[in-house]
Subunit: 155 residues, 3 copies
């Protein structure tokens, strides 16, 4: 049964999915004490298709990047659900680290990352506000346009 | 009233300022337990002007980058003061993550980041020594030359 | 005397070494509570020589990068031994952050990072499985091909 947070997301059309299992010697998340570290999530959708592919500033628009970052956020939430069973156990979104696949002259990373940040606040309200670091990187796995990792305080 | 650490900094000419408020769904810092996570700080000065703009290895010198990293450090300290009210509550600087806006052949990132690391030790002495990661990135928000994030143990 | 984990590694030909001391105002690791944050380790071998130098996708192969990431992992383990005296005190590998010195069209970062991830599982078994973030960066210190940082839960 979906908890309050998941119901609120569903009412906004956000559906969580079974997170992809890493095919190597790492995992989607690790809990230590009350902190949950979630692996960097690239912008695959529920069907394993990239929401945006390629570089911002070289063919991918800010709007497409923002949608991709939101998709990374859905993947983070899906990992949290797999970890805890219920998103209601999130006490606080502590930190998001955002990596934008960027041409060297692309400067609008924060507008891209807002796609993930806005989703966190849509899910958790004020508890969704987080510390954030946004940088533009030379390349990302699978040529994804965005990758986002997270640290969450959980009960 | 300024605490011991802030007085020591003032004696060295380092003045903290009201940190810039993020204009989106994230915040400057989040505390969880005794850890304070501070958002990535780009090298804006107290007046909101970039201390260095553009890429290291393509127009920005190591010296300018070092000054910019020091400015990121001042912004980190300003966020800590906003979070805790007093820098004396810092138990240990745990980790700095440094991102240098770099041409692909720029290799002197550590010399740049020393601007932030030296400031931490100037402020906190041995408690200011931290784990550090330095990488060269393709681009940064606003074309800032340096961005630094931090994790701090606080009381 | 080497603990169980170190003996297991030695049987696989993995020998730890005295970690390089940073020549600046930062340190190889900081412990806070039960978390050990280890500084980003570039792919120097025990003799201070880079295992791979230059960019993936521009002269450095995935195999060379994988060996370099494994070398970063050995450096992380060497830092942990310096911090704790015994690798057996590692309760869990929490997170690895992997930075691959990448040409803009290099997409195989995860295969590179597996060199570090596989080493963690070789050392710690299931406790070695970790959250992971892999990105391709514009440049790294000393033109190293790979840099890896880590967070570890320790006793």
């Amino acid at each position: 049964m979906a908890g309050t947070v998941e119901q609120k997301l569903a009412a906004q059309g956000v559906v969580l999915h079974e997170p992809a299992s890493p095919v190597a010697n790492y995992v989607g998340f690790v809990r230590t004490g009350n902190l949950l570290f979630v692996s960097g999530q690239v912008c695959f959708d529920a069907n394993g298709k990239l929401i945006a592919k390629g570089k911002l500033g070289a063919g991918v628009s800010v709007e497409q990047g923002n949608a991709a970052a939101r998709g990374c956020g859905i993947n983070l939430l899906s990992q949290i659900k797999a970890a805890l069973g219920d998103l209601d156990k999130v006490v606080r979104v502590v930190r998001l680290g955002g990596f934008v696949n960027s041409a060297p002259d692309f400067l609008e990373g924060p507008k891209v990352l807002n796609g993930a940040s806005d989703l966190m606040v849509a899910a958790f309200g004020d508890k969704g506000r987080h510390a954030r670091t946004t940088v533009g990187v030379a390349s990302l796995p699978a040529d994804a346009s965005v990758e986002v990792e997270g640290v969450f305080e959980v009960s």
